[in-house]
Symmetry: C2
Subunit: 720 residues, 2 copies
Amino acid sequence: MKRIFLVLYLSILTSLSFGQQGPTWIWYPGDFEVWLSNDMQNRRTERGTYFPPFWKMDSHYVLVEFNKEFDLPNEEQIQIKAEGIYNVKVNGKMVSGMPDKLILKKGKQKVNIKVYNQSTPPALFVSGKNVNTDKDWFVTYEDKEWIDETGKASDASGTTYSKVGYWNFNRMDQIPSQFKLPTQLQKAVYQSKLNDGVLVDFGKNTFGFLTLHNLIGKGNISIYYGESKEEALDTAKCETLDYLNIIQSNKVDSTLLNSKGFRYAFIKNSENVNFSDVSMQYEYLPVEDRGTFRSSDDELNKIWEVSKYTMELTSREFYIDGIKRDRWIWSGDAYQSYAMNYYLGFDSNTVKRTILALRGKEPTVSHINTIMDYTFYWFLSIYDYYLYTGDDEFIENIYPRMKSMMEFCLNRRNHNGFMEGLAGDWVFIDWAEGLSKKGEVSFEQLLFCRSLETMALCAEILNKPDDKLLYSNISTDLKDKFFKSYWNSEKNAFVHSLVDGKQTDNVTKYTNMFAIFFDYLNANQKDGIRDHVLLNDKVQKIMTPYMRYYELEALCVVGEKDFVMKEMKNYWGAMLKQGATTFWEEYNPSKSGKDHLSMYGRDYGKSLCHSWGAGPIYLLGKYFLGAKPTSAGYKTYDIEPYLASQEWMEGKIPTPKGEIDLFVSKNKIKVQSPIGLGTLRIKSKTLPKSNHGAFVKQDDHTYSLELKSGISYQIDYKSL
Amino acid sequence: MKRIFLVLYLSILTSLSFGQQGPTWIWYPGDFEVWLSNDMQNRRTERGTYFPPFWKMDSHYVLVEFNKEFDLPNEEQIQIKAEGIYNVKVNGKMVSGMPDKLILKKGKQKVNIKVYNQSTPPALFVSGKNVNTDKDWFVTYEDKEWIDETGKASDASGTTYSKVGYWNFNRMDQIPSQFKLPTQLQKAVYQSKLNDGVLVDFGKNTFGFLTLHNLIGKGNISIYYGESKEEALDTAKCETLDYLNIIQSNKVDSTLLNSKGFRYAFIKNSENVNFSDVSMQYEYLPVEDRGTFRSSDDELNKIWEVSKYTMELTSREFYIDGIKRDRWIWSGDAYQSYAMNYYLGFDSNTVKRTILALRGKEPTVSHINTIMDYTFYWFLSIYDYYLYTGDDEFIENIYPRMKSMMEFCLNRRNHNGFMEGLAGDWVFIDWAEGLSKKGEVSFEQLLFCRSLETMALCAEILNKPDDKLLYSNISTDLKDKFFKSYWNSEKNAFVHSLVDGKQTDNVTKYTNMFAIFFDYLNANQKDGIRDHVLLNDKVQKIMTPYMRYYELEALCVVGEKDFVMKEMKNYWGAMLKQGATTFWEEYNPSKSGKDHLSMYGRDYGKSLCHSWGAGPIYLLGKYFLGAKPTSAGYKTYDIEPYLASQEWMEGKIPTPKGEIDLFVSKNKIKVQSPIGLGTLRIKSKTLPKSNHGAFVKQDDHTYSLELKSGISYQIDYKSL
């Protein structure tokens, strides 16, 4: 009873302190994220062996100065806690010792606190009546506050201050460097003895720490994990395992220190070691349950649910690729996780953390994850983030790192102004057999062009006309050259690449489909691409859900939503039929049985829970429920619901301020939005009727209605 | 007895492993140095308050890959220890687990070990019969070893490998991150009760950890430190102190955790706390005793000895400025420590460590210590290091960082190609009243020019003709412009600065004296500067031993050695008369009593043990004993002894290979060198006679003799 009361009490405190703009732990922006991402990404193991990333990992600044000015109505006491040793100045005067409490006088008070910590990011928490660490504190890694021989301090005019980084560490005892994701008990659904061991099944793919109950004895335990039963039982080839050496004289419940992503665990013990039961601590990122989707189509609902669970498992400290193998942050994979997230948890903090972690720190010596396309997705992700959230604070914060990243790219252009893979650059595009990376690949130029446009847009948001002009000019030139170089009017398509300055014969889907949803094309070109590329069986098929996502998006844009629904049900539905509890890294319908499990030349190399498998969340939210912002943060937005083969569908679309609630059947639409000014656009045989406002006819069968926030619209119409 | 045996045994092991090219701990070059220098420099306190540096502190790479290829005559077992978690590959194949032992097969074996550690620098120790970590391993922070979907690894051709960093951690249990300087017991020479406390005098300035013996009770102890008795007793104003809260029921000998630089400690305790005695643990850098100086002049000998002790105290993990206050690494101060070191311990490792720590890591965003002149001294120090040691391995190692530092400087030139203080730049030059830093200061251009020449020299050493040409061209242009802009033939001097493109009237000593020993001048210009600047009482006097050092060097070069000897005895002799046990940060003969102790507007602000106070070591070694290398590493060298007011002098001058032994009286010289080809040049009334070789007449009274290594020369001459 007492304990429950305490928990309630704490959560009240937390919500109160939010309301009061209460204190939060602060750090140099990106430093906690860089540090935590290093920690997370270096937890990968392969058959018990530590498996490190192959790109540069950055570090936090070890010495940073935080400051803010206050005008206090009264004297007040503040409390100070830091991760690291620290020095406090008030109005430029050093305070003696390393005070954890301090009285600030009435009136103007400038507080500077400098924190040093080599092991973990210097972080600060100050709480008082008015003086609290919050997002509006400033920070620098170099205050240049030298004093001359007379004792006069420098003017420090060369010092660059930026706004601090922060997250949700809103209590003094929530030490940032001690951050751990929460866990909860998960029991196995099935256990059986076989092959001198125990096979434990948790019923679906999961992530966390195995617990052996009533463990006792002296000897060895081997645990072989599998996303499939085949993998767990194949002790010689399974991708992850734990070898334990047990010396335990009394029975204990022992939970492993290393987390794994798995569904099955096959456990073998030597003679003198025993345990009674196996469970696990499920480790997860708490994300608000916001976006939903339900329809008359059970298979589609299942696809959405499994996509959601795939997202749940791959949304962690950061958005990762897959739970079994890499557990790394890949920019291209994360770019899709962000987009799905906008239709699911709308968890801005995890998007920001991931963008910061991927960027890392100066100097920039390689592409993000060493992959050229992944650098470009990083740029694109920032504008998307702004469009969905309207968070210009973050654009301001990240813009200097965008500029330096773009500088890096611009310096790597070849004599034609194109991006070509230099030594050490990975031109990825997709996992696809025989895909050429040679010469000037059109896909990279397209993403590069879009990245430059993103720079111009961000420069505009931040009111930097010179930058805007600079990036606009470069992107306009590049776009022009891109069309001239790659568009082939005989093929009605962009070709894959130039080699030695000449178009190759090869046409692949990538450039063509991206050009569609980047809105780079006229109607003729779009139709040409649809017919000659997207719907052309002779063009190399896409095998990864990763690029499948973009392919289906492009088809939605060119009006092939029925086709997309069929494909979606076929492709993701087929994985469900194969028993998928989460969606896969790659799915090839022509394979069967154990062959589905292999990749990278390894029998169980394929990830069966891969973030990019969760694409239906995005497609269903954006193109079937049909909601998307048209200006930043849903200030304006469109809803164009499309009922494909379903009788009805309903869902919630999260926005920065509550959810848009939508129900669509063949003759009824209900919609209510908490935000902005929406435009509902539907096709109907007759003029639809609404309980509020009036529909306007757009063309033959298209009608639009202006949606105001807070109003519950009930609409009658007749679907075509 | 047993303990002594053990110590001997260990030292034999150490020397044996040197002989065998035994293993040593390795890391990414500069990373240990950066990490350790952060640690050291953040130990500064001011009256008990932590006092951090104001410039950017860098970090180690948290994830690095070490590798080397071997051709093994037989199978061998290796032992592996790392600071951090690690992954081992042999011939590209991952070894299971995190092995501390491993069998390598006969034949070609490529060992790659990747270590991750966020808290302290990733470091590695491997020992085997042939496979040992040593200076020839390679390291990278980014191996770019991605694999494609078929399992094929990238060619990693974009990866930059460099040679590893290392020092003297030659045993597996000498963990780099646990490095501490050694300590030894030092007893107080005097203790007396006064003012409700105990004043303890250690007889001379010292550095270390105070020990309170038989400490018991519950209450407070306050310790006020002083380099002077006045400071220790002035509890309200002394610069360093410790406040202790004691809860101790049994008597213990308690040693403080924080080191201090001091001579006196004034200790006050509250009623219920007692201790019986006070001693200290003297903390020091072990440096070989190599350079010596002795003469018939006791005062001069004392000046040399006190200089040596000043160097001993300020040579620590790195060369620091002073022991009481900053305890930071300042490039300008260190530049002099290096030079003194070449005539004292010839401790190359500490020079290298300090140069690496000062440089820090990319990106370069400020001048070193934020001071423009200090960046230039850093360049100069590298060429000096090469000249004295001949260590081209280090030049190769540091050259990329020199290039990027120079890039930073070149990008900061103004429209005239001159360096002018930009926002946040500190133009220091010297502590001197009213010294103008406005406009284009001639002193900075001169150092800049010399730095560019250093770049060209290093490019030549490393056989990089393009770089050599680039830097030579810029330096030649700059030198030309420097003479045209600043030389004033009416004043027979360089003026201090240009403001708005026009020469200011001001003539200061700095530029003029540096131009002399940079050998930028013709004989007329030299004479002009000597008469109109150096020996001109109307020109602002230099008050710091820091610039005094260069002033006296310039006077030596223009043939004023008698004058210099007089000045040296006057200036440093006067500090001795004031009771100095170490030399000071600043000495102004016109001050008296307590006024000598103040600086920076604080009563005890002045450091009484400052590295730049030890200049006589350098002046006596280079201009009176008169030995200096003329090509790298004493391959060739000059000895031009000059007996000023002394009857005789003798000394040892360290070289990379033993010491040059020299005795000089008015009619006898004895000299023996272990290295290179020397030229002894002396003034004599008649042709000097040598037991080996023959003197050659150079001009009226100057004769030279070729010195071969290993021969004991006995020379008779008649001094002028």
